[in-house]
Amino acid sequence: MSIRERLSGNEAAATAMKQINPDVVAAFPITPSTEIPQYFSTFVANGTVDTEFVAVESEHSAMSACIGAEAAGARAMTATSANGLSLMWEMIYIASSLRLPIVLSLVNRAVSGPLNIHCDHSDAMGVRDSGWIMLFSETNQEAYDNTLMAHRIAEHKDVMLPLMVCQDGFITSHAIENIELVEDDKVKEFVGEYHPEHYLLNKEEPIAVGPLDLQAYLFEHKAQQATAMKNAKQVILDVSKDFEKMTGRSYGLFEEYKLEDAEVAIVCMNSTAGTTKFVVDNLRAEGIKAGLLKIRVFRPFPGEEIAKALSHIKAMAILDRADSLNAAGGALFEDVTSSMYVNNVHVPAINYVYGIGGRDTKADDIKSVYMDLLDIVKTNKIDNPYRYLGLRKEAQK
């Protein structure tokens, strides 16, 4: 029997870490993810876990220490947000290129500046090409579940890539929700022990990690990373299936919510999907065929599967909680639309940048998106595909 609890998203992530019992956690506090290492260091102090906690002086060192620990043969975990991830950025690329399956809990927050501690996805979008697997979580439950699945995915021999579990800062990280926890012994059995093939602390086979990789080799090593990322897709599905057997909770690459017969659809990630489901239900009650595609696996990007799932839609909106400032559209918008293009699927598409710096995105905002989509279906015209949702502007004359 699973355990019914009520936990904040941060508590959920810290609880998952406790149950995983990693060998090393190196972390530096930053709002809104501070509580994760804070709760976890309590577990360490109480002797609940076997973990060695490294209280580093910065996030750059947090990731450096995780790299050192993971290369040494340990399971290493950390947590951060926004500027913390920015400071880690150099080491984020090194972690994935050294093929170290570190697991990071990313509580999404706006990257400065100006300074803002609230939710958006600009931190995650800044590392989207870094070779990390990126899972997004709508609820505390999903943040917990994704964390429990993380090591099985990251440490798979066909993958060996670091993984970050994302959740929305404050919206889920600080909101207490009902949650179903898995028993400790079941988690232990599910996650399993980590036995790397090659590691620094193996004195029988001393190894060298992190070479100077010149013109003759770096290209091939990068292509190996790309192959591993492609492999990750099937591994994620397999691990999710095993997880479903244990918990009854089903996860795919993305969630289709009333999408099958939908005419208009929204694509989004994290907590906004919850608001969108509420709006979809209301619109359905009015007879409007609205649907949602919620991305869980952002890296590897399931482009082909998404294109197929959206192929019957008459108009769609992709919601980006980060502006790419490229005068063309957000990152998710570009990934979705380019995937549709290369898979020969044409669906009229618009992009909304929304929720920047924790700006509240209400049901009415989401409803207005569906209304815009219905208008596009009717008129077959898109004036401007790159739009803002909930932005104050002078009234149009």
Binding site: H60, A71, A208, V209
Partner: protein
């Protein structure tokens, strides 16, 4: 006890091999080699090098001049990287995941990698070991 360099060199195998790509006449390789010879022969070491000529010249894929385990990550974080490896050692040792015997941790940083760009990471190193 007097230190007899001839005896040390004659009797302790080098843990820093030739075949590295440091410039002819460079002073760093003899220093690294002598430091590595200070280890007890039975001890294993994890060495971390900050990015710099010492590191790139001794570890050009697919060759390493280090007979012990070696890790390089970036310019400014040899201290933090090695602190992580050492934390792994402490943790895994405590849990009985490692065999008997000692592992030593040695970071090589250049002047910049240590007390210029790497000063912050050096503070981490002190935090762990002080």
């Amino acid at each position: 006890m007097a230190y007899n360099l001839k005896e040390v060199v004659a009797n302790r195998p080098s843990r820093f091999t030739p075949g590295h790509r440091m410039c002819a006449g460079c002073g760093a390789p003899p220093i690294a080699r002598h430091i590595m010879r200070a280890l007890k022969p039975e001890d294993h070491a994890v060495v971390c090098g900050a990015t710099g000529c010492m590191e790139v010249s001794t570890f050009i894929y697919p060759y390493t001049a280090w007979t012990d385990s070696f890790i390089h990550t970036a310019f400014e974080c040899a201290g933090a990287t090695l602190a992580g490896a050492e934390a792994a050692y402490q943790s895994m040792k405590k849990q009985g995941k490692l065999p008997e015997g000692d592992t030593k941790f040695i970071a090589f940083g250049g002047d910049g990698g240590t007390y210029d760009i790497g000063l912050q990471s050096l503070s981490r190193c002190y935090g762990t070991w002080a």
